[in-house]
Assembly symmetry: C2
Homo-oligomer: 457 residues x 2
């Protein structure tokens, strides 16, 4: 007797080329949420996705406004009594800069050697379309095992700025038994994984003001504290020699990894060699008492994301700049809180900034760190799905990134998230030449089909 799920899997295999064509259409839309001038394109991506959901049979599809970019919502609720899965995703992407480093234009998706290249191919239009394709396949069986709701936001890459308000406001509409979140990626093409923790984020801009205008360095060099130098001095003081963050109280509430977690981490293939080859740095860096895999997920960090002062175009300009700034973000672990970290940065600057300059901290955005309940039945449904497709039990680990949606859904709807994904560490997300490994993506579609049918039991 043929299992219904096999019909769905068969359908998915028959439609692989068309699924890919749909994904390429989606990637072609440059939905860069952080750039104001791309606002119409972000909307266009939302409208495209809404149309696509309608075309596969999803009902009550809406492009719902927020104070920022809209949320795409849709539902299929024709199996009363069956579990309801809330499918989370985001349709916005990072800017493609530096554009000149792309081998093919970022918004003209192209397949080269099993990889689909394009901004958003992996993060996360590919992941969204894997789940959408799996739902399509399940619906086509006419024996859809579960109810589904879609919550696809347009602001993940800018810290899900308005998602909290949205989830709070529409908590009842979003109510479900579990959230499927495929934004967490996997460890390697041959190692399926489930993520049970995410780092939080506190993103800020630190500004240093010196002279009231740019000064001629010949006329004034020697009497003013150069703001670029002063900022450099302050940034240099934010880490000690062992790579530990020096903001006062930074580690106070940070949860220390348990012995069991550190034991489990030994199963991860992400060793020194992995990080060296995936970053291209001459030598790894960071807290010496933790392995690289631990440092990128179980430990908090402070990063300079950008830095600007004075004359940076080709050629020279002999000025003392009036102003210098750095974009700085901290990745946080349980039980650190972004609000505390902003305070710690201000306390650090208050204590360390010299009287020769003025400074300011702009709090830009933040998200709380999170730990997911591993006892949830949906976690087992996903673990089983991954094992069926990959032939091995998944690894459980924590992730270094931040997903606001997971926190807000827990907070306002009490919906836990199953965190997995079919994006690989070397997909180059947030970098030039982002790509998606298509064989892994296709296994991902099969996995989500199994996950949906496993929930039926």
């Amino acid at each position: 007797m043929t299992d219904v799920r096999d019909i769905a899997i068969h359908y998915a295999h028959q439609n692989r080329d068309r699924f890919l064509a749909d994904l390429k259409d989606f990637v072609r839309i440059p939905s860069i949420s952080t750039l104001e001038e791309y606002k119409p394109e972000v909307l266009r991506a939302a409208l495209w996705l809404a149309d696509h959901l309608r075309s596969i049979g999803i009902e009550n599809v809406e492009v719902m406004p927020t104070e920022g970019h809209p949320v795409v919502y849709g539902e299929w609720l024709k199996r009363p009594g069956a579990p309801t899965v809330l499918i989370y995703g985001h349709y916005d992407v990072q800017p493609p800069d530096p554009v000149e480093e792309w081998q093919s234009p970022p918004f003209e998706p192209v397949v080269r050697q099993d990889q689909l290249f394009g901004r958003g191919a992996s993060d996360m239009k590919g992941q969204v379309m894997a789940v959408v394709s799996a739902v399509e396949a399940a619906l086509k069986t006419d024996r859809m095992p579960v109810n589904v709701k879609f919550l696809i936001e347009g602001e993940e890459e800018i810290g899900s700025a308005h998602l909290e308000d949205f989830v709070k406001k529409h908590a009842r509409k979003l109510k479900a038994d579990v959230c499927l979140n495929t934004d967490a990626g996997m460890i390697g093409a041959d190692l399926p994984s489930i993520t049970y923790g995410l780092r939080g984020l506190a993103y800020m801009e630190v500004r240093v003001y010196g002279p009231s205008k740019d000064l001629h360095s010949g006329l004034f060099g020697g009497v003013v504290h150069n703001p670029a130098q002063a900022l450099a001095e302050l940034i240099a003081g934010m880490h000690d020699k062992n790579g530990r963050v020096t903001l006062p109280g930074f580690y106070e509430k940070a949860r220390r990894p348990s012995r069991r977690e550190r034991e489990e981490y030994k199963r991860l293939p992400t060793n020194d060699k992995f990080f060296l080859s995936h970053t291209g740095v001459p030598k790894l860096w960071g807290e010496p008492n933790y392995t690289p895999a631990e440092r990128v997920s179980l430990r908090p960090t402070l990063e300079v994301n950008g830095m600007l002062s004075g004359w940076t175009a080709p050629g020279g300009k002999t000025i003392i700049p009036a102003y210098a700034m750095a974009k700085i973000s901290c990745r946080l672990v349980p039980d650190q809180r972004p609000a505390d970290v902003f305070k710690q940065m201000k306390a650090y600057l208050k204590a360390k900034a010299p009287k020769t300059i003025r400074w300011e901290v702009i709090e830009m955005h933040s998200s709380e760190p999170v730990i997911v309940d591993l006892a949830h039945p949906a976690v087992n449904a996903m673990a089983d799905g991954l094992e069926r497709v990959w032939g091995k039990r998944p690894v459980f680990h924590r992730e270094g990134g931040s997903i606001g949606a997971v926190i807000y859904l827990q907070k306002y709807t009490r919906v836990d998230s199953v965190l997995t994904g079919f994006g690989l560490p070397d997909d180059g997300i947030h970098s030039p030449n982002e790509h998606l490994h298509l064989p892994t993506w296709q296994r991902g579609i099969d996995t989500v089909i199994h996950f949906l049918f496993n929930l039926e039991k």
Copy 2:
């Protein structure tokens, strides 16, 4: 009996409005030498100046090519036996950035309250036109007291990149008894001054390379040494707590100010209050054993002129940048040498840069520091001219800026320079809202007329 010089002075006073109109025409041309796209404008400024010199009776005017921007040459040599004055100047200007801080467009000169606003109004189109106007007035008497040659370059703001080659190649053509260089500015509107020393310059770009591409800070934060942070750490180490430069050997050859110089410096009005009000900083900075006036001219410095890494546009991007750079320049005093300073920077980086990053130093441009012979008769001719117009003896001091021309003329033609100028410290040169104090400028024209006639004696 009317002195011939009085006729010239009278002519200058009669023609003040037209002299200003000529200067405004000159300022309107955006001759920004550092920006490739402004090359045609730089050439237009050269052609405008050549035409203007011809119009006042200068002969053999040529726009002479170099490997960069051309030099405007011209001569009037009809007084055999009389001294020959080589008039140096530059017709190029700094970029107007940040443009949004200008109260009126930088290349639409406008007079507000005795000040002419515009990029180059003070540095140094105004200075060039003061001398050109004085020469015009002297020529109009039909009793021109001296011979003159003009050497007006187009690359001063980019370190006079090709002037050395030009002076070397045309040393005979440029031969003169003295060079008049009005690029040195004056101390205050009521205090004429002659400059007898200039700081040299070593301008470089320091580049720090980390990962092979921008990385997601969530996925990789904690294992790579952030290049922006590494650059900040290196910059922070370039000064000690007393504001002294730490490059190995930096001060070794730096000539210490003599007791007599430090005594003369007490006459300067440029005290703490002056520097506070002219810079707008909350507190002065620098070597505690020297006064501010000494620090900006008798002491060498190291400045960050620009700094760039990662994401600097509005909004946030959670990356670890692949790369960071700083434009760094040192102001040098006798007997430091730019070539040594470049070596010292490399030695510093070799000793201090961690193995977690790669680095590179690009040597951009340089000029030697210089001391001028105060015994030259032309120095007295200028001192007398300044005293006649201002009613007081000028102050002798050293300047903090760098003028390549002075060095090259000394080196290849053995022509000493008389360094003065009618630009004021608060003219905002190299800054937004650059302006020229017109009453001082008009006195400057009179002064140059006296200087020319004083040389006749």
